[in-house]
Symmetry: C2
Subunit: 191 residues, 2 copies
């Protein structure tokens, strides 16, 4: 049972990585299974709905992982949470030599087949959760409600966009610039 | 000859739109031709290198269009330029009912086959040009050099990320939030 759970988990994490590299529309269930070193049959065993079921879980997995990091680090204040959020994506981009990014962004910028919108809905939920956590932390540090909402949205948008810029330019420089500017902004609004 | 140029142009604009909707890896030359209402043969006539040649031109076309808007509007200052940049993407997202976005972002977040990196290189160049134009305008309005670079990078990253958030959430609200916050930031640093 524990082994079962571990293989399922490995499949989901593998799918998240693969989708962040290649996109969802261009990736088959066969490739997702291969990337996770899993037999094709077990993919259908765990995800009878196929590719879009697995992709939805992959987006939720990336969402939960990010929520865990944010929740833990925001306990020390919005500046620490922001730094952890940025460091997380920095590691993904550098460890993959600029080939991997964010699976949540990946499914957001692909028009999915009409009856397979679950991965995109999971992405929308992820963006909302991250924004809400950041906004709550900013409010707790003295930021006004409307401003907290605006700055939190800016942080999520900027981090996602920067990962794409870094991948295009094969350089971490955009993330350095955005890290510096967002840190200044958070300091300003919580002063 | 003029007719020739117009069909080529229509193919390039159609490819940019299609790539922004579906991604590049998932789209065939056949689908790109169909989307632009062009015979498949003429695609190979104009783009003998096939899909990646056409995609590279599509990214450059989106880049040039954006540079035209930015150059024209930044003449009235960074705030006007920022507004035009944001309005441009707002129109793309709303006119397509949240189905289209930015072709430059699309090719940035897909790992392309090893010998077909030209679309991604074109995307890197696009991000650099937009950032440079915004930074130059901020400097002219009294912003320090390093700050101008940081704020310009933040603007490009945030706008790209916001388009993805709007598409995921099927809502223009993230763009409203980011527009308000970026406008405040530009006012602050050019005051």
């Amino acid at each position: 049972m524990a082994e079962d759970k571990r293989s399922r988990q490995r499949m989901v994490a593998g799918a998240a990585d693969m989708i962040s590299r290649r996109g969802l529309n261009a990736t088959s269930v066969r490739e997702l299974a291969k990337h996770a070193d899993a037999p094709l049959g077990s993919t259908y065993h765990y995800f009878p709905g196929g590719k879009y079921d697995l992709a939805t879980e992959a987006v939720r997995w990336a969402d939960d992982l990010t929520v865990d990091v944010l929740s833990r680090e925001l306990a020390a204040g919005p500046r620490a949470g922001l730094q952890a959020f940025l460091d997380m994506w920095r590691k993904v981009v550098l460890d993959s030599d600029f080939r991997a990014g964010c699976p949540v962004l990946a499914v957001s910028v692909e028009d999915l087949p009409d009856d397979h919108n679950a991965p995109r809905d999971a992405a929308a939920a992820a963006f909302r959760r991250w924004t809400a956590l950041l906004a709550e932390s900013l409010r707790k540090s003295g930021c006004q409600e409307a401003e907290a909402e605006r700055v939190a949205t800016l942080i999520v948008a900027a981090v996602e966009g920067t990962v794409a810029m870094c991948r295009a330019q094969r350089s971490i420089a955009p993330l350095d610039q955005v890290t510096a500017q967002l840190s200044l902004i958070v300091d300003q609004v919580t002063r």
